[in-house]
C-alpha cells in the first residue's frame, strides 16, 4: 500500500465511512508518482480542504457578525447564560490535544512508534472528554427549555457548536483509523504523510473552537 492510497483514504474518510472502500487493485500503475510529489501533493490537497472548512464556518461567522450588530443585548444575555467554566475546560482540553497530535507527527518522523501510539490515544481521549462535556452542556440547556430556534443567539450557538461537534467526531474517526494503522505497523519515518495531514485536520478542529469559544462564551 503506497503513501498515496493512505492519504486519499484520510481525505476520503472525511466524507465516507471506511467500509465503503472497495478492493481496488492497489498497484495498478495509476499512482506511480514519486514519494516527494505524493507527500507535497497530499499536503497541498489537505490545506485546500481546510480552506473549504473555514469557508463553511465563514457563513456562520458572517451570520454571527450581522445578528450581533443587530441585537447586541440578545447576544449579551445569551452569552452570559452559557457555562464559561465548562467552555474553558473544553478549550484547554482541545488545545492540549493539538499539542499531543503535533507530538505524534514529530514522533513518527523519528520512528518512535510507541510514542505515536500514546499521543494518538491521548488525543482521541481528549476529544471524547470534549464530547462528554458538550453533551452535559446541551442537556442542561434543553432542561431549561432552551433549544435551537429559541432565539437567534441560541440558534447560532447550537448550529456553530453542533457543526463543530460533528467535526470533532470526524476527527476522532480519522485519528482512530490512523491509530489502527500504526498498530499494523503501516507508518514509519519514511511514510508519515497520512499522520501529518490527519494532524492538520485536527488542528483545524481546534482552531475553529478557539474562535467559537470567545465569540459565544466571553462576550456576555
Amino acid at each position: 500500500m503506497g503513501l498515496y492510497s493512505i492519504t486519499t483514504k484520510i481525505l476520503k474518510s472525511i466524507a465516507y465511512p471506511s467500509e465503503l472502500v472497495p478492493s481496488i487493485e492497489e498497484d495498478d500503475g495509476h499512482h506511480h508518482f514519486d514519494p516527494v510529489t505524493e507527500h507535497e501533493g497530499a499536503k497541498l490537497g489537505m490545506w485546500l480542504f481546510l480552506a473549504t472548512e473555514l469557508l463553511l464556518f465563514g457563513g456562520l461567522f458572517a451570520a454571527y457578525a450581522i445578528y450581533r450588530a443587530k441585537y447586541p443585548e440578545m447576544f449579551m444575555l445569551g452569552s452570559s447564560s452559557l457555562d464559561v467554566v465548562l467552555g474553558s475546560v473544553n478549550t484547554v482540553i482541545l488545545i492540549f490535544s493539538s499539542l499531543t497530535v503535533a507530538v505524534a507527527v514529530k514522533a513518527i518522523q523519528e520512528n518512535r512508534i510507541q510514542l505515536v501510539k500514546v499521543m494518538l490515544w491521548v488525543t482521541i481521549i481528549c476529544a471524547a472528554i470534549f464530547a462528554v462535556n458538550k453533551y452535559f452542556e446541551y442537556t442542561y440547556k434543553f432542561g431549561k427549555g432552551i433549544y435551537p430556534g429559541t432565539d437567534i443567539f441560541y440558534s447560532i450557538y447550537f448550529a456553530a457548536t453542533g457543526i463543530h461537534m460533528l467535526h470533532v467526531f470526524i476527527g476522532m474517526a480519522v485519528l482512530g483509523v490512523l491509530l489502527r494503522k500504526v498498530y499494523q505497523n503501516k507508518y514509519s519515518k519514511d511514510n508519515f504523510t497520512a499522520i501529518e495531514i490527519g494532524g492538520l485536520y485536527w488542528h483545524l478542529v481546534d482552531l475553529i473552537w478557539i474562535y467559537l469559544f470567545p465569540l459565544l462564551y466571553l462576550v456576555g
Binding site: G29, H30, T52, L55, A62, A63, P148, G149, F158
Partner: protein
C-alpha cells in the same frame, strides 16, 4: 510499445465493475459524460414541457402546480446535475492529465469517490422527484421554508453534490501544481487547463458557502432556527446574499471550462498560434477573482442598500473586461488564419456570437436603472440562456465533436453533424430571441399564465424548442453511429500533448512521460514547418 499500452483504455477491462471501480481518469471522465448527458436530456424534457404549456394562456397541458415543479426540476437539474459538474468533471477529467503529460490525476481514488458522491447526490435528487420541490432552483426564503413541498431532500442532494465538486476541484488544482511534465511550465500550460484551474479555485472556495447555506435552510425547516425568518428577528434577504455568494461564482464554474475549450479549438482550425496567450490565461483568473465580488447584482430589487447596489453595479461592469479580452483574442486568432469550418469550429464560432449577445445583455442587467425594469422578466431568462446554452452548451458540444476521435477512437459523419448544428443554432435563437422582446415588454419569468398580447412570442419560442429538439436528436444519432474504421492518433494535426498518442489513449496515457520544449500553440510557425 510497452505491455501496458497494448490495449487502449476503453478495452482495458469490460463489464460494470471494470468501470464502476476504475481509478482511470479517462474512464471516470467518460462516466461523468454519460451521467451528465442523461440529466441533460431529463432536464431538457422538463423545459420542453414548460414551453409547450405556454402555447396558450392559462392551462394548456399541465396544471399550475405541475408547472411550478417542472421549471424547478428543469433549473435544479440543469444547474446542479448538468452544468456545474458538466464540462469540468467530464472533459476536465479526461483531458487535464493528457494535456499536462501525466499518467493520471494526483488522487485517482479520490477522483472515483468524487464520482460516487456525484451519483449519490443525483440519486437523492431522483428520490426527491417522488415529492418534488416547487421553489425554483434558487430555494429562496421565505417560500422555501413555508412550502409544503419537500425541500429538505433536494437541498441535501445539492449539499452532497457540492462535496463532489469540492473534491474534484482540489484534485485538479493539486494535479496541475504537482504533475506537470518536465518543461510544461505555467506559461506553456494549455488554456483549457488554465480555465479548469480557475474553475477549480471557484469550486473549492465558493461551494462550502452554499453548503452551509443549505444546511441552515434545512435547519430552518427542521428546527426553526430563525436566521431567515423575520418573525424570529431573522432576515430572508440574508439567504439571498449567502446563496448568491456561491451561485454567482458558480456561473463562472459553468462557463470558464467552455471558454477553455474554445481557446483550444480556435488555433487548431485557424492554423495560427493563439493570440494573446497570457491575456487569455490571466483573464480566467481575473474572472474567478471578480466573480466573488458581484453577487449583489442578483439582488438590486431585494431592498438592500442603495450604496451597495451602486458598488455591485460598478464591479459587475468590471467583470465584462476580462471576458471581452477573451473574445477579442479568439477573434484575432482567426485573423488571416487558414480557417477550416469543421463541426467543432462551427460550434466555437456560434459560441463567440451567442455568448457575446448573452454577455452584452448581461450589461443591461448590470446597469442598476435598467435592471429595475428588466428584473425577473423573460429578458433575464433569455440572457441567462444565451450565456448558458449559447456559451456553455455550445462549448460542450464543440468539445464533444472535437475530442470525439480521441475519446472513442472513431470518426463521425461531419456533414450530418453540421446539419444538426444548423438546426440547434436556428432553434436556439428562435426559442430565446423572442424572450428578450417579451421581457422588455414586461412578461415576468416563472409565471404560469400570461396576458394574450404575449401569445405570439410564446408560440414562436415554443416552436423553436421543437427545432432545437430535432437538432439534439440528430446530433445524438450522428454521435452514436461513428463511421467505420479507426481514427488516427492526431486527425487535426494538433500540437498539444493529448494528440501525441494513439486514439483512444492507452490506459497509462504515455509510454514515457514526455518532455515539453515548445509552447503549445505554435501552428504555422517554423517549428510546425519542420515537422
Amino acid at each position: 510499445m510497452s505491455e501496458a499500452q497494448e490495449s487502449n483504455y476503453l478495452e482495458n477491462g469490460h463489464g460494470f465493475k471494470s468501470w464502476f471501480y476504475t481509478v482511470d481518469h479517462k474512464r471516470i471522465g467518460v462516466m461523468y459524460l454519460w451521467a451528465i448527458g442523461v440529466f441533460f436530456v431529463l432536464a431538457a424534457i422538463a423545459s420542453f414541457l414548460v414551453r409547450a404549456e405556454h402555447l396558450t394562456p392559462g392551462q394548456t397541458i399541465v396544471s399550475a402546480d405541475t408547472y411550478n415543479v417542472l421549471f424547478t426540476l428543469h433549473g435544479a437539474m440543469m444547474v446542479f446535475l448538468f452544468i456545474v459538474p458538466g464540462v469540468a468533471a467530464s472533459f476536465g477529467n479526461f483531458l487535464i492529465p493528457l494535456m499536462i503529460g501525466a499518467k493520471d490525476v494526483i488522487f485517482p481514488k479520490l477522483n472515483l469517490y468524487s464520482f460516487w458522491l456525484y451519483l449519490a447526490g443525483a440519486a437523492i435528487f431522483l428520490i426527491a422527484l417522488a415529492a418534488p420541490a416547487d421553489t425554483g432552483w434558487t430555494f429562496y426564503t421565505p417560500y422555501s421554508i413555508e412550502t409544503g413541498a419537500n425541500v429538505i431532500l433536494i437541498t441535501f442532494g445539492v449539499f452532497v453534490l457540492g462535496f463532489s465538486s469540492i473534491l474534484t476541484g482540489i484534485n485538479f488544482i493539486v494535479t496541475m501544481h504537482k504533475l506537470r511534465a518536465p518543461g510544461m511550465t505555467w506559461d506553456r500550460l494549455p488554456l483549457f487547463c488554465w480555465a479548469a484551474y480557475a474553475t477549480s479555485l471557484l469550486q473549492v472556495l465558493a461551494t462550502p458557502v452554499v453548503g452551509i447555506t443549505l444546511l441552515l435552510l434545512i435547519g430552518e425547516r427542521y428546527f426553526g432556527l430563525g436566521f431567515f425568518d423575520p418573525a424570529k428577528g431573522g432576515d430572508p434577504v440574508m439567504f439571498q446574499h449567502f446563496f448568491w455568494f456561491y451561485s454567482h461564482p458558480a456561473v463562472y464554474i459553468m462557463i470558464l471550462p467552455a471558454m477553455g475549450i474554445i481557446s483550444e479549438i480556435m488555433p487548431v482550425f485557424s492554423r495560427k498560434p493563439i493570440f494573446g496567450y497570457k491575456a487569455i490565461a490571466y483573464s480566467s483568473l481575473a474572472i474567478a477573482l471578480i466573480s466573488f465580488l458581484v453577487w449583489g447584482h442578483h439582488m438590486f430589487v431585494s431592498g438592500q442598500s442603495k450604496l451597495i447596489n451602486i458598488i455591485f453595479s460598478v464591479i459587475t461592469y468590471a467583470v465584462a473586461v476580462p471576458t471581452a479580452i477573451k473574445v477579442f483574442n479568439w477573434l484575432w486568432t482567426m485573423y488571416k488564419g487558414s480557417i477550416e469550418l469543421s463541426t467543432a469550429m462551427l460550434y466555437s464560432l456560434a459560441f463567440i456570437f451567442l455568448f457575446t449577445i448573452g454577455g452584452l445583455t448581461g450589461l443591461f442587467l448590470g446597469a442598476l436603472a435598467a435592471d429595475v425594469h428588466l428584473h425577473d422578466t423573460y429578458f433575464v431568462v433569455a440572457h441567462m440562456h444565451y450565456v448558458m446554452i449559447g456559451g456553455t452548451v455550445f462549448g460542450f458540444f464543440a468539445a464533444l465533436h472535437f475530442w470525439y476521435p480521441k475519446m472513442w477512437g472513431r470518426m463521425f459523419d461531419e456533414f450530418k453533424a453540421k446539419i444538426a448544428f444548423v438546426l440547434i443554432f436556428i432553434g436556439f435563437n428562435v426559442v430565446f430571441f423572442p424572450q428578450f422582446i417579451m421581457g422588455t415588454l414586461g412578461m415576468p419569468r416563472r409565471y404560469f399564465n400570461y396576458a394574450p398580447e404575449f401569445q405570439t412570442f410564446h408560440q414562436i419560442s415554443t416552436y423553436g424548442t421543437w427545432i432545437i429538439g430535432v437538432g439534439f436528436i440528430l446530433m445524438l444519432w450522428v454521435l452514436m453511429r461513428p463511421l467505420p474504421g479507426k481514427a488516427e492518433g492526431n486527425p487535426y494535426d494538433s500540437l498539444s500533448l493529448e494528440w501525441s498518442m494513439d486514439s483512444p489513449p492507452g490506459t497509462f496515457n504515455f509510454d514515457e512521460i514526455p518532455t515539453v520544449t515548445e509552447p503549445v500553440y505554435n501552428y504555422g510557425t517554423k517549428i510546425e514547418a519542420e515537422e
